[in-house]
Each structure stands twice: as C-alpha cells, then as structure tokens.
Symmetry: C2
Subunit: 390 residues, 2 copies
C-alpha cells in the first residue's frame, strides 16, 4: 500500500428537502453575499431557484445570479464570473447543478485570488493558495465534483479540456436531495451512472494486486451502483435508488476507492480529448464508448485483475481466467447498452472522428505518454483504442 | 434512506514512517505546547516516544507527558489530565496509542472547557461546545476512535462504562503507520479485528432492507478485514494486511458504513456492561462472545438479512434461507475462534458472571430498553443473550 494523505472536509447534508435549509446553512458560516451559479436555466423552470431565493431572503443573505454554464464548461464564463465576484463583493459561491456548474464555480473561486488568466490554473501554470468558499446544491448524480479535488474546464477556442486537482477544490458543503434528480432525463441519468462507475473503475484497474480494502470497497460500490442504475432507468422516482447513485457519485470520486494507491485516470484523459473536440459529447457517453475499448486492450496484459473484476463485480465465473476477463468486459458493455449508452463513435454521433487530431492532442504531438502501470498509453496505443470503436 | 449529515474532517496521514512527521505536522497548525498522552509505557520501551520527542524538539514544540491510560480508561486519569492541561497551558493533546488513549484524550479535551466533573459529559448531562484539538498517533488497529465521533470512558468506582458521541470528538489529524502495529500481541491483534468487524456488523444489521450502498460497502470491508486478519495472525509483519486493518478500523467506525441509516450499537451496549464490571475483559474479546449470541437471537426475527450476510460476507449458499442465516453466524464464530478469540464467558475467564447485575445495569433496573429495529432489547432479551454464552 502506498503512503497517502486523505481528508474530505466537505460537509454532506443529505436527504429529503435538504435544499430548503440552504439559507440557514450559509448563514451558519456567516457569509453575507453570494453568487448563485447555475446552468441552462432548468432550475428556474422547476422552481428550485425560487426555493433557494426564499431561503436566502429568510436568512438575510444577499445574492446575485450567473447562469449559462453548459456541459464541458468554457473558460470564458469563468472569466466573467470572476469579474462579477470582484465588482459585487461576493464572499461565497453557491453552485446549483452538476459537475459542469461545480467545476465552473471551483475555477472561479480559485481564479478570484489570482491576477492572471484563470486557465493558467487548469494548465498547471499557477497553483492556487487560497480560494473563495464554494457550496454545492447538487441536482445531477454523476461527476462527484461535490466532494472531490478535481476541476475540469474547457477552453473552446483552443479545443483544450483540462483537469486539475487540488485539496482546496473540495467544496465547503454539499446539499444533496435525491428527489431533485427525479427529473433528470434518462440519457443524462445513464451518462451519470457511467461516469460514477468510471471514477471507481479507473481507480480499480490502476493496480493489479493490493490494496485489498480499496478493491473490496470498489467492488461493493460498483455492484450497488449497477443495481440502482437498473432500477432508476425503470423507475425514475425510486428514492432509494436515486439516493444510492447520489451518494455513490460522491464516494466514487473523493479518493475513498483508491486509498493507498495511485488515482490514475487514463480513460478520462482519452475521453477529455474527444469531448474537448466534439463539445456536444456528454462525458459519460464518451466514457461508455472508450472504457470497454481501453479495457479490451489492457485486459490481455493483466488477466488476473480483469478476471477478479468479472468475478466480484459482474458475477461471472468462467473456468479460464482469460475468457472470464473478456466476458466481464462484454457484460459491462451490455450493461452500458441496457442503459441506452453508446459503444462506438458512430453511436456517439461522430461519423468520421479525427483520430489523428485526437492522438496528437492527447500525446501533445507524440511527446507525452499517459501514465499507466502496465504499459504506457502512448500515441500507438491511443490510436489502437480510438480506432477499435469506429 | 434516512436523511443524514456526514463529514469526517480528520486529516489522515497514512503510511511508512509517517510518525516521524509529527512535529512538522503540529507546527503546521501553529500549536506551541502539547500534552503527550499514552498508555502503559510500551512507547517508551520500543523507542516511539523518543522519535516523537525528537520530532517535536526539531520543530520547537514544547511538551509534557502523561502516561498510564489502561484498557477501559478510567475517569480519574481524565480529571488529572484536565488539571495538568490548565496548569501547563497546553494548546493541543497528542494521543499516542489506541482507542483507550484516544478516548481519554477526547474527554480531557472536552472537559478542559467545562467547569463541572468531566464524567457529566459521558453521562450526557453536559454537551460540550468547544474542545482542545486532539491529534492521534495510532499504534493499535481496533477502536476506530482516530476518526470517529465516539468516546467511551469508565467510572471504576461506580462500575459504569459510558459512551457518548459528538462531532467535536473527531480528532484534528491521525497519523497511521501500519508498521507500528507489527508488535501488537496476537491476542490484542485478534481483539482489534473483532472490534473493527463489529463496528460495521452492528451497523449492517440495523436495518433489514435499504440502503444498498451502505450494505455493499460494509460487505466489502468485512471480507477485506477477515482476509487481512487471517494473514496478520500468520504473518504479523505483513505490511499490506496490517495497513488494511488500520484503515478499515477508521472507516468501520467513522459513519461510512451506515450512511443513510441509524448507527445503533446494541451489542456494544451489552459488552460495555460486561467490561465495565470485569475491567480485565478486553472490549474485542467481550464482543467476540456476545455478538454471535445476539445474532442467534435476532436472526430468527430477520432471516432475510442474516441470509444476505451469510451469502455476501461468509460466502455460504445453503438452499434454505433460515439454515443459511444460522450457518453464516456459525462460520463467523469459527472465524473468531480461528483468531484465538473466546466464545463464552468461561473462555473469557469469567467463571460465574453476575448476569442479574449486568441485566440490571444495562436496563437501569428494568426501566431502560436498548433501541433496536426488530425487537427491543429489554431485560428479558438481555438475560437470554447473556445466559446463552455461560
């Protein structure tokens, strides 16, 4: 087991109607004027924004609003948000939404205390020392950004989607009411299920052997998410199943499932290039296409671990480990398909993917190799993986 | 799933030689003078105290020492410690040891800001509003007190062992080097394994149905701990297995395994009465005797859940659920026995247990019923359970 530090200071307030406490919670911390940051405006239509505003007013908290965050959030809106926070003397940001809104809020919070361009932080050119506090009111179970250290922002002009991790990225609190996710569309729900699974799956396959505890927790989480996922696709208003996905989304990406091991994310990197170029691609859908392709490539190099996955997660027990390893991935693909998720670029709506551009972007012109414990993910491997799902 | 709040702000610093960083870590928080609190002096013999002192001196941190904490820690030493913290102007307590030392430090930290007798806090007569910061350097994997909200202290004069939970009880940081547990005796190691399992087992059996996520994480944790437990009993210096037990000890009692459900601890309450009266009884050993007895009593009332446990944790698949439920408990007893743990009062070294006294103490003269979801644990049930393991 590797040495590590682990702390998740984010206060999770979970359950039925917890969103009504938002004003009281913020007042408890003593903040005076907040930015409500959100996405495409669904929170206006479904009345959530009204409830938030009511709770803020009751608790004498001033606020301004900035919506418009879209999937694969753009750096341009972050720049606007930072200026607004300065001119309006904001002392806290409330992100109302899913991973895109939260990540936009996180980079705004970090950029607030940096004089340069905030994308420098994404590009690892500047390491934040201080951030504005970010609170979350979660409406989509997927990214796990509500308790994670990660933040992924896209520069649309340069078609660059970049993630950076920092302990200061963990939000101050996260309010999670599973009922708010009842109205998430089947497609977005499915994308979320894939994303949640992927955060643990990528960590699971980082190492072929120990640590057993992280593996056992991962296997349990994956089985619970798959079961809840199937339930939710049939019954969108199944509270307990929605609650399982919501909490699993946080646990899957907060470091719990890679305690004592590296948290490498090779498939996320393969995917970020795709949805950086084709910005209409949902992250979860991209992962659904790329993970099985990645897994088939690497399973041949680590049969024991993929066999273990097949047994302990997919409940498949073929005699020959190499067969079992492959069958585990096949069943996983079938599961993704059962959720309505794509398995090829074509099903993703990309007819002629520019693989050369993607390989070049991922490997920075062939100079960069994505970290991986079995075999480096270089240009040749990336090309093989992308090509296998045309 | 029940509504809940969940946050574990304790910073875990885990791994090889992390104890050498203790001075640097404390300096990082800005504390100037600390109390080093410890147990029976093994840290002097094995050189750990010297390493700590060296690290403190290097970082210009003043310290005083107070050892002498024994298993089932007594309130009298807590009173002494509080006085010492005041006269010596201590601004942080470093607990070096396991659950007993940590709990003694926790009540000292809470009692520091209370004018009355600290045992009032254990008796729920006073709720702390402020505590001294407590840092932990863990040397035994068992109680999980290093990241938990719980604190259990005994009043030897009144033979009262009382636990209380409070968010302020979570330590500021916990340094965990699995190597420090290599020298823990086989008996104490086994007691720890039982204690770790029990913190999750008690939570697991709180509810017969949902939430599935908590159950799946619990099942994974239990399997990993059992496997690591067997390894450690054979090879005390197996780093990865010791690391598994150490991290699982924290996760098992920090609330993770009962997310979205009650965290009732009926068997702990049965046991506290036993080790309150017979203070030579190790907590884990007492639990080893009492959990299977409790389980046999309640399995008949909740066959589905005990059948699930047998399948998913003990890997037993008898056709008839009621048979499977029982066989799961039998195999668990066999596992405890394989660790050298007792299964009866007699094996625990208590020839003629004063069951009447214990039942009376647990139920406060028959007026109190221990909370339980299936059937209340009243005097009659308690007597039946205690009597079944004579």
């Amino acid at each position: 087991m590797d040495n590590f530090e682990y702390v998740v200071p984010t206060r999770v307030i979970f359950g039925h109607q917890t969103e009504l406490k938002v004003g009281e919670i913020i007042k408890g911390y003593g903040y005076k004027k907040i930015l409500i940051h959100y996405g495409q405006g669904s929170i206006k239509k479904d009345g959530l924004l009204d409830k938030i505003v009511q709770s803020l007013k009751t608790n004498n908290i001033e606020y301004i609003e900035l919506g418009g965050v879209h999937p694969n959030p753009d750096i341009e809106l972050v720049r606007t948000a930072i200026k607004l926070c300065h001119t309006e003397h904001i002392d806290m940001i409330l992100a109302v939404g899913g991973g895109s809104v939260i990540d936009s809020a996180k980079l705004t919070a970090a950029g607030f205390y940096y004089d340069g361009d905030p994308f420098d932080i994404s590009l690892h050119k500047y390491v934040p020392k201080k951030v504005l506090p970010v609170g979350v009111l979660l409406t989509i179970s997927a990214a796990g950004s509500e308790t994670s250290t990660s933040c992924v922002i896209t520069n649309e002009k340069t078609k660059t989607k970049m993630g950076y991790n920092h302990p200061l990225n963990r939000p101050l609190f996260a309010i999670m009411d599973p009922e708010l996710t009842f109205t998430v569309s089947p497609y977005q729900t499915a994308c979320g299920i894939v994303d949640i699974m992927m955060h643990t799956l990528e960590r699971y396959f980082n190492e072929s052997k120990e640590p057993e505890l992280a593996d056992a927790l991962s296997e349990g989480l994956l089985r619970a998410v798959m079961e809840a996922g199937t339930k939710v696709m049939k019954h969108p208003n199944d509270y307990d199943a929605r609650a399982c996905l919501m909490m699993a989304g946080s646990l899957s990406h907060n470091g719990l499932t890679n305690l004592g091991k590296m948290g490498r994310m090779p498939v996320h990197q393969l995917e970020h290039v795709v949805s950086g170029l084709y910005t209409e691609v949902a992250h979860g859908a991209g992962l659904s296409v790329l993970f099985p392709a990645w897994a088939f490539y690497y399973a041949a190099l680590d049969i024991a671990k993929f066999d273990k996955f097949a047994k302990n997660v997919m409940n498949i027990h073929l005699e020959k480990p190499s067969d079992n390893a492959k069958m585990g991935i096949i069943r996983l693909k079938e599961y993704f398909h059962s959720l309505g998720m794509p398995l090829t670029f074509s099903e993703l709506g990309i007819k002629n993917p520019d693989i050369e551009w993607m390989v070049n972007k991922l490997t920075e012109g062939g100079t960069r190799v994505v970290d991986h414990h079995i075999k480096p993910l270089d240009a040749e491997v990336a090309k093989a993986i992308y090509t296998s799902v045309l």
